[in-house]
């Protein structure tokens, strides 16, 4: 089959009536999750995933992906209307978006956010369509040693780029890797760290941890915030569209944000948040009236929103082509693929073309669905912001419990989820990033497998781990990711010490 045939076949899968319906459902649920402060795409997907087990894999993945980019769309609404980002990557949108709303231009801010999202989203899916197959072909050259090196790089990048401290990121990553070793060792058949508990022999599902770390911990934090007081929602004033002047000021930031978002999205670590920061900084630095940023500049909404949505397509490139997630949400999506018995990576495009091209096809349609849905229905989505937190938080907890219980009908999973929830609360309070832990839990088994396969091939000689240029390149990049921030901090301290005159 020619590449164009695969793409057309993907559209025929995506256009099937039930797939269209579930893509729409995913987009709507995603937007709702994005609109609700505190619930991000990762938590939403973790909550929804157990409920998709009875579905056909393609349909379930289409719905989950719809939820992912739906949440990216929805996140901006809360940033603009209540100055509270619906999810982390909408932080930069809040700076000028909220000020625009206070100046009576909430309609324009929401409109530019939707336009930037649809343009960036569509561009990133086109780029994904073009880049995924060549990258997957390159991935076919990987043996176990190269695979081990690229997994190390992916985890090192996520650990060092999320959070404020590299050491805390590494702590989170190693704990995740340790949890992934619980259960029967597949090579020797020996139980490890189960303490004689039969239910632990299958290991701990990453979903149990994800629901605990995201949903339960988030609810516990939100209960505290709820008891301290609520935010006020600004009304949408003005027309839900842009003036010619606003459009003239927005299109270049959208283009720049799209490019930044997509290419940053392909690189592991930091999620979409870093790309929005880069886009905002760029717009501010090249603007003639820098000092006006933070007072309601439309460029400060257009650029970051484009970057935010373009990053989704960027994240999907290494996930689909190499089986490497670049952040928490794609780690959960990878977990979903594995649960459905599909292994993302170089062989995905030949083994499961219907799934992968159907998913990509649905992303084109989903982006348009969101644009068509979001502007006319924005008032409806805003109503969700008025749902009392005291009603919402207990409901989220019950949905989480149904999801976790339905994985294996196990009450022990519920207790484990509670333990992970408490740990997640402590992680949040201590500023320890959760993304490296979840990523390590999803990739841990694969990493051990490739490590032991490499050692078996070489008869126990560790030199195999750096025997090819690909492995050396990724190991060097991993070292750079971990050591770079430490060296930079050391140099900065030395410079400050030199600049400060001796007392």
């Amino acid at each position: 089959m020619l590449p164009i045939d695969h793409i057309l076949n993907g559209f025929s899968v995506a256009f099937q009536f039930h797939n269209l319906g579930f893509a729409l459902l995913g987009c709507v649920l995603g937007t709702l999750v994005g609109v609700l402060p505190g619930l991000g795409p990762a938590a939403g997907m973790a909550l929804l995933l157990p409920l998709t087990f009875g579905m056909e894999p393609t349909t379930a993945l289409i719905m989950l992906a719809g939820m992912y980019y739906g949440a990216m769309y929805g996140g901006s609404t809360t940033s603009i209307l209540i100055n509270t980002p619906g999810e982390a990557s909408s932080v930069m949108t809040a700076i000028d978006g909220y000020q625009m709303a206070r100046n009576g231009r909430a309609g324009a801010a929401l409109a530019v956010s939707a336009i930037a999202s649809v343009i960036a989203g569509t561009f990133s899916v086109i780029a994904l369509t073009l880049m995924a197959v060549p990258l997957a072909r390159f991935g076919l050259k990987f043996g176990p040693a190269e695979h081990f090196a690229i997994l190390i790089f992916s985890m090192a990048a996520v650990s060092s780029l999320t959070g404020k401290s590299v050491a805390r990121g590494l702590f989170s990553m190693v704990i995740g890797l340790m949890i992934s070793t619980i259960g029967i060792d597949l090579q020797s058949g020996m139980p490890r760290f189960t303490g004689g508990n039969l239910e632990l022999q299958d290991g701990i599902s990453f979903l149990v941890a994800a629901v605990g770390f995201f949903a339960i911990a988030e609810v516990l934090v939100n209960v505290e915030e709820h008891l301290r007081g609520n935010s006020t929602v600004l009304a949408i004033k003005g027309r839900l569209w842009l003036t010619a002047e606003e459009w003239r000021r927005s299109y270049m930031p959208i283009i720049r944000g799209t490019l930044i978002g997509f290419f940053k999205g392909v690189i592991p670590g930091g999620g979409a948040t870093i790309s929005t920061m880069l886009s905002y900084s760029l717009e501010r630095s090249i603007h003639k009236e820098k000092e006006k940023f933070g007072t309601g500049m439309i460029e400060g909404v257009a650029g970051p929103e484009a970057a935010n949505n373009a990053a989704v397509g960027g994240h999907m490139v290494p996930l689909l082509a190499l089986g490497i997630p670049t952040g928490t949400t794609t780690a959960i999506l990878l977990g979903a693929f594995i649960i459905f018995g599909i292994q993302p990576g170089p062989l995905l495009f030949t083994r499961n073309p219907d799934v992968v091209w159907g998913l990509i096809g649905s992303m084109y349609i989903g982006n348009l669905m969101l644009f068509v849905l979001n502007l006319p229905l924005i008032a409806l989505f805003v109503r969700v912001l008025h749902t009392p937190t005291g009603i919402l938080l207990p409901l989220i907890l019950v949905i989480a419990s149904i999801g976790v219980y339905s994985i294996d009908n196990s009450a022990q999973d519920l207790l484990l989820t509670w333990c992970f929830g408490i740990a997640g609360y402590a992680f949040k309070k201590c500023d320890i990033p959760i993304a490296p832990l979840i990523l390590a839990m999803v990739l841990g088994g694969k990493m051990e497998q490739s490590f032991r396969q490499s050692m078996t091939i070489s008869g126990g000689d560790p030199a195999i781990l750096w025997s090819s240029w690909i492995a050396v390149l990724f190991l060097a990049l991993a070292a750079l990711m971990v050591l770079g921030p430490l060296v930079l901090r050391l140099l900065r301290r030395r410079r400050v010490a030199q600049a400060t005159p001796a007392q």
Partner: protein, 153 residues
């Protein structure tokens, strides 16, 4: 201060993990490393991370802000956290013995009545509506198996 505490926690976890490694039987058929080599590497890595955290912690100029944060948490949020976490734990423990409907009814009613500050009939109506609707949707539409507990359905 947080980094130093985390370093101690990491060392504690590494010690526990080490005990777990010692309990793994060594079987090395067709595997040059055996099932304990990779966990050993992770344990060493965690000890290294503990060292890094300790270095970062010792370099902190002052522990006063961290102490102030801890005091503020104990003063303002600790009780809320303990009560909320306790309520969730009670719900999870009762999920199977009481069954989905009864445990959810009890949990939603109590937590909404505590957290919601509006008219009392709203939490009652939402609880009843949600329990009924979610049971029908999950059990009958999605085919999810939820515990019956004390009820016959």
């Amino acid at each position: 201060m947080v980094n130093v505490i985390l370093a101690l926690v990491a060392l504690g976890i590494a010690a526990l993990y080490g005990l777990g490694i010692a309990a793994i039987p060594q079987m090395m058929f067709g595997d040059v490393l055996g099932p304990t080599a990779y966990p050993r590497l992770l344990m060493i890595l965690l000890i290294g991370v503990a060292g890094l955290l300790l270095v970062e912690g010792m370099r902190e100029k002052s522990w006063a802000p961290a102490r102030a944060n801890l005091r503020a948490f104990l003063r303002e949020d600790a009780l809320t956290f303990v009560l909320a976490a306790g309520a969730v734990l009670a719900f999870f423990l009762l999920f199977r013995p009481l069954g989905y409907l009864l445990s959810t009814l009890l949990f939603l009613l109590v937590s909404m009545l505590v957290l919601y500050r509006g008219p009392r009939w709203i939490p009652v109506a939402v609880t009843l509506g949600f329990c009924g609707a979610s049971y029908l949707i999950f059990v009958h539409a999605f085919g999810t198996q939820l515990p019956r507990g004390l009820l016959p359905f």
